[in-house]
Amino acid sequence: MNCEQQQELISQFIDQELNPKDDGKLFLHLSTCHECRSFFRSTLKVRESLRADIEQASPKSLDSLIQTSSGKIDSRATSRLSRYLWIHQRSITMSVRKAVAVLALAICGSVLLSLFVFKQNAFFPERKTPTEYVISLPQVEVVGYYPIPHQQERKN
């Protein structure tokens, strides 16, 4: 393994992403290679310098912008949801007579619907189409046929 490959392992080691079985090989190489030791120290120095940079605060204007926009998204989502929930949440007010009429209509409607759906089976068993068996027998010619005497008498 050359220095370039060893330095890639150093990078992974610094990130705690190096397979532990490669630790030994890496440290053996570091003990003999000045170049890679220098890379190790420099990488740590760069990391330290990068992390010294503090997190930046987002501008206040962004907060209000997000608040407004997220409210719009939220209201869009609510109106979408309300469309689905309309039947469940809608309350209808009517007089008792009207309510009874609506109920009666609903019952009649459902009965008619069920009659229509089930008329062939449960409600009108007599209307079931009768089963017919059609049997046609072939004509048979009987050779040596003589009418029976008492049938002849009847004819006379």
């Binding site: 330095q7 890639e8 990078s11 992974q12 990130d15 992403e17 220098s38 890379f39 120290r41 420099s42 990488t43 120095k45 760069v46 990391r47 310098s49 990068l50 992390r51 010294a52 940079d53 997190e55 930046q56 605060a57 987002s58 501008p59 204007s61 962004l62 907060d63 912008l65 997000i66 926009s69 997220s70 409210g71 998204i73 939220d74 989502a77 949801l81």
Partner: protein, 191 residues
């Protein structure tokens, strides 16, 4: 500080994500509070433009809110949010046509940056300036690793690349920075 190492805070974050998925608007506010500076800082470091970073951060949070149902693992909210931010940053690059062929570009540096361009003696400031000169795909992985302390797997998920590509890019970015800064470190006797 990253909240990933703190189990108590992680639990809160998972709860907040679940509440947001159930339509609790307050949970969005709490998640925004938790991540607004992180996302804004990432965008600023990627774009080197505060105003554009603000716009991208805005867009990131709006997309996160509207697509929260698509997040199946509540525990990976941070990676998911940064993936949206990263995508928005790339979209901004494309809009400004500064770097369209991101993945096909050769080399590490966006422009050649001699050390003497650095005007400050502060090492951290020099490193920051160098970081800005790295190509976006190298800058992104290094930022996510050093500032957000995401694992290679998480960075791969954020940037839409493979873990081996992340390993390689982080190494190349570090090596490029070290090579540029080596004379400076030697001059100051720091290595």
């Amino acid at each position: 500080m990253s909240c990933e190492g703190d189990p108590k805070r992680m639990l809160t974050e998972i709860e907040l994500v679940r509440q947001l998925q159930q339509g609790d608007r307050k949970a969005f506010g709490d998640l925004y509070e938790l991540y607004r500076n992180k996302v804004y800082t990432y965008c600023t470091r990627m774009l080197a433009d505060g105003e554009a970073a603000g716009d991208v951060t805005h867009e990131t949070f709006l997309k996160a809110q509207s697509r929260i149902e698509q997040l199946h693992d509540s525990g990976s909210f941070k990676s998911w949010l940064f993936a949206i931010a990263h995508h928005e940053v790339l979209m901004d690059f494309r809009r400004r046509r500064t770097n369209i062929e991101l993945s096909h570009a050769e080399g590490i540096w966006d422009n050649e940056t001699p050390l003497d361009m650095a005007v400050s003696n502060e090492i951290s400031e020099i490193v920051q300036r160098m970081l800005q000169k790295l190509k976006p795909e190298y800058r992104a992985v290094l930022l996510l690793r050093e500032f957000e302390q995401l694992s290679y797997t998480q960075i791969a998920a954020v940037t839409g690349t493979t873990e081996s590509s992340v390993k390689s890019r982080i190494f190349k970015a570090r090596k490029a920075l070290v090579e540029k800064l080596k004379p400076y470190f030697q001059q100051r006797g720091e290595i």
